[in-house]
């Protein structure tokens, strides 16, 4: 059973620029994943408004009945979030690794246009390696 169900990357205006599914039941179609991504973007923003204290930077972890959603927002407003099994550990670390891969293989790619969907082969390859490594590490424990 996969520990990670899917990965989303959304740009600073809430548009989905990358989505990868690692085996969740009942695949979502493209329209649904775009809607879910922009919905998450707004929920993230609203959660900051409802904070009882100053300095809130949005939802980091959402615990649902059947999955956990870990979200990481970069300083530029790009959001990375993974959907994984409840109770999966070390997802913050994985998100940082994915962010690093994004800066290395997407942002440094001269053919990549900012805020546009990611189509970079090297990013795909390294991403699947990172996820695989994470899965192996989970199996080892």
């Amino acid at each position: 059973m996969a520990a990670i169900y899917s990965l989303y990357i959304i740009n600073k205006s809430g548009g989905l620029i990358f989505h990868k599914d690692y085996g969740s039941a009942g695949r979502m179609d493209t329209n649904d994943s775009l809607r879910v991504a922009s919905l998450w973007h707004s929920m993230h923003a609203i959660s900051q408004q409802l904070s009882p204290t100053v300095g809130c930077s949005g939802i980091e972890l959402l615990e649902a009945d059947t999955f956990d959603l870990h979200c990481f927002q970069s300083l530029t407003g790009t959001k990375f979030f993974v959907v994984c099994e409840p109770g999966t550990q070390h997802m913050e670390g994985l998100l940082k690794v994915i962010y690093e891969l994004y800066t290395d293989y997407v942002l440094k790619n001269p053919f990549y246009e900012m805020e546009m969907p990611i189509r970079c082969e090297l990013f795909d390859i390294n991403l699947s390696q990172a996820i695989q490594k994470d899965r192996v590490a989970l199996l080892g424990r």
Binding site: M28, D32, V36, S51, E63
Partner: protein
């Protein structure tokens, strides 16, 4: 349970994990989104007026619920995004955490929503919310002067709630 003056609440409250008082505020909404109760213990920041704040909170929970129902990776038939779900239907959520607070959420089968905001490093509060629901049943539902669907004004409920919330960490 005695008929009159019974003060035993079942089940007994979950044991406090640490002493402290780091609850920020609590909301209770009924199934149609009316805020029945709003209690505030520690809230330095107010961004909106009370009514707008309640509306925004209810909207956030409603949308998050439709998001989790749509995202549920374990079921194949998830329906359409944004279609209202009955209480208990579809995949719901029990908490989310930001860097400044943790929101714990419970929905009863009747559609009532109990929301508690605490310090981000608080543990699992699902049992505590169930206990708060029991307090509501004992002190509000069984109060003959309380009309369902109206804001809760029961001193006994408020004091026991304050006392209990102070004991959870």
């Amino acid at each position: 349970m005695q008929f009159f003056g019974g003060s035993d609440i079942s089940p007994s409250p979950p044991p406090p994990t640490a002493s402290g008082h780091n609850a920020h505020m609590m909301y209770i909404f009924n199934r149609s989104g009316i805020c029945l109760l709003y209690r505030e213990w520690n809230r330095p920041l107010h961004t909106l007026n009370a009514q707008q704040d309640h509306k925004l909170m209810f909207g956030l929970l409603f949308s998050l619920k439709s998001l989790t129902a749509k995202m549920d990776p374990t079921s194949a038939d998830k329906g359409n995004l944004g279609v209202p779900q009955l209480p208990g239907q579809g995949c719901s959520f029990h908490s989310f955490r930001t860097n400044t607070y943790k929101l714990s959420f419970m929905e009863t089968p009747s559609g009532m929503k109990i929301i508690l905001l605490t310090h981000p490093r608080t543990g699992d509060l699902r049992e505590s919310l169930k206990y708060i629901y029991n307090l509501y049943v004992e002190y509000v539902v069984k109060n003959p002067l309380y009309a369902p669907g109206t804001p809760i004004r029961c001193d006994l409920f408020n004091t026991s709630l304050d006392q209990y919330v102070r004991s959870i960490s």
